[in-house]
């Protein structure tokens, strides 16, 4: 039988409907569709897909179980390596990872590995998650700083190995960017909470309101624990550095998304945190965070939501799936356009942005063609809200407060592939070490660090 060349579609909320609510966009596979999709897998002996998986899931293994209708066994296989599959099954850029290596790509679309992972995670959650047997207690204590994807993964793996793990979270809610950054319609917070709950059931203790570097220092943690893992992410927003950026109406994507996602401003005044956006919103940047911001603005009632980006569509860093969803929802893409200044009224309220058209020149250091302004092409666009989504830098709070910790030129903590920093006993991973990257890379870093920490604490007398 010939292999079907295309993935099975995943049903979605229609664009016209979904822009009026914050509910999740795709609905997920049915049992039957999942089995059919799983049957597309060729079960290659060399498992190229696994080379693309930062958390080392036995991909052909779990897909084979789905094809045979054994969803529980599939869940077991995934959970053996990945404690947060409902999250990675939603936000992972599969096209660059597992699916990017899939053999079927030679004749058509790869197996929908991401959709299948999500299917199994949702299936398992619906049935009630099984807690795996833990290793015997080692009597070792590990502190994990930050409860984002790197920290949660590291904590979960260490707990399974029998270590006592305490996670220190600065905010009042767990999961870092999964909670404050990624919107409800892409990653429902109930699902994040369920995944965090699983980590807690593994025996991990999460303490909130503890700003490490302020409430307690890493040195103090190192005194009370056998090792410390730092996974504090890339929390520092970057700015355009153009005049008028402090006007009322200009947000960093972090502020905008934190207000809406973590503080639930979309439910104001039921929730106390406000947001105001007006009728026309412009988001600057074209990564996943920019797509999230522009699409969130629509759901808050914006009549027009622009993406303003200085390069062309080809250079946009967002995933194709996110760009596709944004286009379907009516986001207006103003490409090869760069802001020069924000303009406000006499009350300091943002009213316009002055932009200039760009053309692409020779490739720059990043390998992407450098945008060059076209003289005389300035235009003013009426906007009421601007969201700056041009990237984040590592949060400086910890790098600044640990003596002797080697810091890179972007303010990142220098760590090797196993997360070892310049100080014995201190490990780091995720965006704080690499600069802003993806959820799955942070999870992978957490996983490798957990292994290194296990080895380290066991070798300690």
């Amino acid at each position: 039988m010939a292999v079907r060349k295309t993935k099975h579609e995943m049903p979605e909320q229609p664009p016209k409907e979904r822009i009026k609510n914050f509910k999740e966009v795709p609905h997920g596979y049915s049992n039957e569709t999942a089995i059919e999709e799983a049957k597309r897998c060729l079960q290659c002996k060399n498992k190229p897909c696994m080379d693309g998986c930062p958390v080392e899931i036995d991909i052909p293994g779990f897909i084979n179980c789905i094809a045979q209708g054994d969803f529980e066994k599939a869940a077991e296989i995934i959970k053996a390596k990945n404690s947060l599959p409902a999250i990675s099954g939603r936000v992972c850029p599969y096209e660059n990872q597992c699916e990017g290596e899939c053999t079927i790509k030679k004749i058509g679309e790869p197996v929908a590995i991401g959709r299948l992972e999500r299917f199994i995670a949702d299936y398992e959650r619906g049935k009630g998650v099984k807690i795996p047997k833990k290793a015997k207690s080692t009597g070792k204590k590990v502190a994990v700083v930050g409860s984002g994807p790197a920290g949660l993964t590291c904590a979960g793996d260490l707990a399974k190995m029998g270590h006592a793990v305490t996670v220190f979270e600065a905010l009042h809610a767990p999961a870092g960017v999964l909670m404050y950054g990624i919107p409800e319609f892409r990653l429902p917070k109930k699902i994040v909470e369920a995944e965090v709950d699983y980590i807690k059931k593994l025996g991990v203790d999460i303490k909130y309101d503890i700003v490490v570097g302020k409430t307690i220092t890493v040195d103090e943690l190192l005194h009370d624990y056998d090792a410390v893992f730092i996974g504090t992410g890339a929390g520092l927003p970057r700015w355009l550095n153009v005049p008028g950026e402090n006007l009322d109406g200009v947000y960093s994507a972090n502020e905008f998304l934190t207000r809406v996602n973590m503080m639930k401003a979309y439910k104001f005044p039921e929730y106390d945190t406000p947001i105001k956006i007006g009728k026309v919103v412009a988001t600057f940047g074209a990564g996943n965070v920019a797509m999230d911001s522009a699409r969130t603005a629509l759901r808050l009632g914006a009549e027009k939501s622009y993406i303003i980006y200085r390069r062309s569509e080809k250079e946009m860093p967002a995933r194709d799936e996110e760009i596709g969803h944004a286009k379907e929802e009516g986001i207006i893409f103003k490409l090869l356009t760069n802001p020069k200044r924000f303009i406000g009224d006499d009350k300091g309220l943002l009213t316009q942005v002055k932009c200039i058209k760009m053309k692409l020149g020779e490739p720059d250091d990043s390998g992407r063609r450098r945008p060059i302004p076209i003289p005389g092409s300035e235009e003013k666009i009426d906007i009421e809200t601007a969201i700056v989504a041009i990237g984040q830098s590592p949060n400086p709070l910890i790098p600044k407060t640990v003596k002797g910790l080697k810091i890179g030129k972007w303010g990142n903590i220098i760590a090797d592939d196993d997360g070892q920093t310049s100080i014995p006993g201190i490990f780091a991973g995720g965006d704080i070490a690499t600069g802003a990257a993806t959820v799955i890379l942070a999870m992978g870093a957490g996983k490798r660090a957990a292994r290194a920490i296990d080895k380290y604490v066991k070798s300690k007398k």
Binding site: L171, T215, G348, N395
Partner: protein, 273 residues
């Protein structure tokens, strides 16, 4: 949960609370702030630390009931708890022997001034304190601050206590009297800090102000609290809250502090209904 262990009504709209938060109290220093959230639907608000007791493990907050959250906070009593209380945040005040320092507090800004006055005095400064408020009912911590001050002045807008007028006028008088002043610390309404900075600018007297802009996370993540300081954008939560008063763009800060006034009114109305 963080228990309210003491509450005092300082005036109709200003209240004092001691909150049990041992980890915060252990590290708190003059000039720092905390972020609290009352309940699950609450917003995160920053309040500057008015005092701390490491032995008791408590932090003192003093707040003016201006918006939904501070009004709701004011209705809580001893025995009630706050859901979240994180800190100490921000950089502490630089406490050293400057020589003669003038500490100026306006309205509820007098509260965070108190621990700074105390520490500056302990380390050997000659402390001149100037407290101001709209009327005598709104003055706070007079006795407490006077105890740690070498010279002590009060002004009220309506003349109901002390000199009638503004704190900046007392400062100007001291300068006119050719008093040696090595540093001025001012905490209060933005307009007061702006005026104080304008008074000292021609004389190049080092002037520090403590800012309290709108914040969300308080850890440098959202940038909602950004202020223009000289040519730079600074975050009050991690770079401040204290800045060189001669470099702060106070006008922009005033505008940014009004960002959610309409929403604030709406939130307050919803509670009343």
């Amino acid at each position: 949960m963080y228990k309210i262990v003491e509450k005092k009504v300082l005036s109709e709209t200003v209240k004092m609370m001691n909150i049990k938060a041992p980890l915060v109290a252990k590290k708190a220093q003059a000039g720092q702030f905390i972020i609290l959230r009352i309940d699950e639907s609450g917003e995160r608000i920053p309040l500057t630390i008015a005092d701390y007791d490491r032995k008791q493990g408590t932090i003192t907050i003093i707040f003016l009931e201006v918006g939904k959250t501070t009004k709701q906070l004011g209705t809580l009593n001893v025995g009630d708890s706050l859901l979240n209380f994180a800190g100490p945040l921000g950089a502490p005040s630089e406490i050293k022997n400057y020589g003669t320092v003038v500490c100026i507090g306006g309205g509820v800004g007098i509260a965070p001034l108190y621990p700074i006055v105390k520490e500056l005095k302990k380390i050997g400064n000659h402390v001149i304190s100037i407290l101001g408020a709209r009327n005598k009912k709104l003055l706070l911590l007079e006795k407490e601050i006077e105890e740690f001050s070498d010279e002590f002045y009060i002004t009220t807008d309506d003349g109901s206590k002390g000199r009638k007028g503004f704190v900046s006028e007392v400062l100007q008088k001291l300068i006119d009297e050719k008093r040696e002043i090595d540093m001025v610390m001012a905490i209060g309404p933005v307009i007061m800090m702006k005026v104080v900075a304008n008074v000292t600018r021609p004389y190049k007297i080092k002037t520090l102000v403590s800012l309290n802009p709108i914040m969300v996370d308080g850890t440098g993540m959202c940038g909602g609290c950004r202020v223009s300081v000289g040519d730079e954008i600074k975050f009050a939560c991690v770079d401040g809250p204290e800045f060189d008063g001669h470099l702060v763009d106070f006008d922009n800060l005033m505008l940014r502090n009004r960002r959610f006034l309409c929403e604030e009114e709406k939130a307050c109305k919803c509670t009343e209904v």
